[in-house]
Symmetry: C2
Subunit: 406 residues, 2 copies
Amino acid sequence: MGKFVQLIPFEEALTRISSEKWKPLETEVIDPEESLGRVVAMDVYASEDFPAWNRSLVDGYAVRSSTTAGASETNPLTFDLNGIVEAGASSFTEYKGDSCTEIYTGGILPDDYDAVIMAEDGERDGNKIRIYGAIDAWKNVERQGDDLQSGAIIVRKSNIVRPWHISAMVSSEVEKLEVYRKLKIAVLSTGNELFPGSTGHIRNTTQMLYRNYLNRTFMDTCDAGVAHDDYREISSMAADALKKNDCLIVTGGTSLGGKDEVPEAISALGEVVFAGSMIRPGRTLTLYIVDGKPVFSVSGIPVPSLLSFDIFFEHFLLTLIGLKHYRDTVTGRLSQALTNKAGYAGIYRVKLTSGEDGNRVELIKTKGTGTLNSLLNSNGTLLVPGHVEGLDAGSLVQVKLFGDAT
Amino acid sequence: MGKFVQLIPFEEALTRISSEKWKPLETEVIDPEESLGRVVAMDVYASEDFPAWNRSLVDGYAVRSSTTAGASETNPLTFDLNGIVEAGASSFTEYKGDSCTEIYTGGILPDDYDAVIMAEDGERDGNKIRIYGAIDAWKNVERQGDDLQSGAIIVRKSNIVRPWHISAMVSSEVEKLEVYRKLKIAVLSTGNELFPGSTGHIRNTTQMLYRNYLNRTFMDTCDAGVAHDDYREISSMAADALKKNDCLIVTGGTSLGGKDEVPEAISALGEVVFAGSMIRPGRTLTLYIVDGKPVFSVSGIPVPSLLSFDIFFEHFLLTLIGLKHYRDTVTGRLSQALTNKAGYAGIYRVKLTSGEDGNRVELIKTKGTGTLNSLLNSNGTLLVPGHVEGLDAGSLVQVKLFGDAT
């Protein structure tokens, strides 16, 4: 990359990601019980009603509601107790118009019965139950399919499987689930200073940060090693990593001037999608496509590098597999004014605090480039578009929370 | 538990959790690189300055700022180029008043130099650099310790380790980290209906839901098996599980009336902390203490069971290890009125949506007890205290997001 690179607008960089011909990610069919955190590849529907039977919601006496008509304080009705149903146990009693069945919470309603009188509303005398009021049909009963009807949607394509999705799939007899294969991501680090014993040796915290951040249930990361600042070495290691992975992140060697070897190394393998864009931090982030796979060339300075990468990577995931809910977005009010550099989309680290009168969004000050310190106190980021030169204190802004991010 | 149990207020249940004598959770010392998602047991401070040197923030020419005084368009000054510093490489040049050093982003500033002139602001002519303006001290330089000074806080006790905490620890030479041991949690399921071949057999989705939900990096869950509705069997399996775990969850057998075996089984092992409280759903949730360890007896109906358990368990974690940030809390506006049952704290499933004018909080309707369906569309919960009988549409409420929850 030469010294006088023409940066494209940030939005144009996103457009280029959307319109590139990425190699589709294959899907695989797995057991729903093993699907926690995976991304669903097609809409999933309940195979059977859940619950599969009418169930009692209370402890009491199951009856046919029509037989209780006319019962009142002055005209109580009496029913024969014809049996007992425990939780989960199925019906074994035969319906008779003047009979009822003792039933516990969760018990399956005997055939022909359609309501349950609460235990405290029935007066028991040996094998007889006296009631002082009528009961409506389906009172105190959860009906078959109340929770999920056969054919009801459980989880839509491109969503991440949560614990309750698994319960719903298992409860409604979904036996196979099509999910996207785990996305395999390699991180290749570059820089002479990363080699132990080199002058000015520094620890490779950038690789660590990327891998820990991307350590999610629908992705697998691996270490593609450390290359010297030598385009042949970088190119050969990158090509190796791309053989075994779906995506490559190359850290380091992105300053706009001087002797960067990464552009030469990766350009030799494929095409540039965009070489830098108007976003801060992250203006030097460059995206290549090699055999339909993305290669993100990012700065080696851990925090600003990761924050800008995350925005482009999120858009890549949206394009590749339709994943929208990568991080929660919430609205809050800026506690102070913000000045944004004209023309540049700005990524700001913020701390969002919930209060009784709303959410307060505080800018976490950064100084220098490392800015690790700023992340230690923040719980999300705010992206300000390039056409916005500033925001007043009190402005409503949308923050992406880091959430668990573990 | 008898039919006419006196439920205590929800807040009183929390107070009892706070004041119980729980067995403390041991800590262990681990490598910070292995600490992702663990809970820190003491405040962690930077051991060394980061960066450890003064570094250039740009590509350009390092100088001593005082020697540039007086430079202007009409009075340019010229400096001899005495060497080059690449990213991460250390100083090797000797300071001379009229000299400067070519330097790249991230390069370590030569001793005695205190500023970097940007490449485009210096006119190069062979080994001479001409400048047309003075530069202030520390301009374009990240100073030693700018990001983290030795002794600065990195992460406080009782917080979960995030990816950036690890980078900060490694960058500032923290070599050992004291964290809480992983909390071992066993889930014991009870109910004749859970045995294959039983009448009214149902799949054990409750255990699955608990284990998937609690499947976090600072806890380990295990399956303590399935017991019949028999207090001797339950008691013996619970005692076994408690030998190997720090916490036991017993699912099923909590309806207020009838032949529940769980209370008899667990009471035989320890003491009741509270037997039910005024919260809906979850009024039958009972907490025991056995040898200083908590036993949560919860309903076997998956979703309402988990939602109420989560509130008590979160308070238990706060009491045991001071963990506050279990789920993100954000404020939003109710999109519709809500009626709460007087005296009962209410847990409501909600969907919080961020918009340009704030966050909208929509109640997800539940029907029946299963209510799996309601969770499929929600992304958080709202807890309404028992003294609040209702909330108007437009009220500001605080929602706990599920976040990743994977």
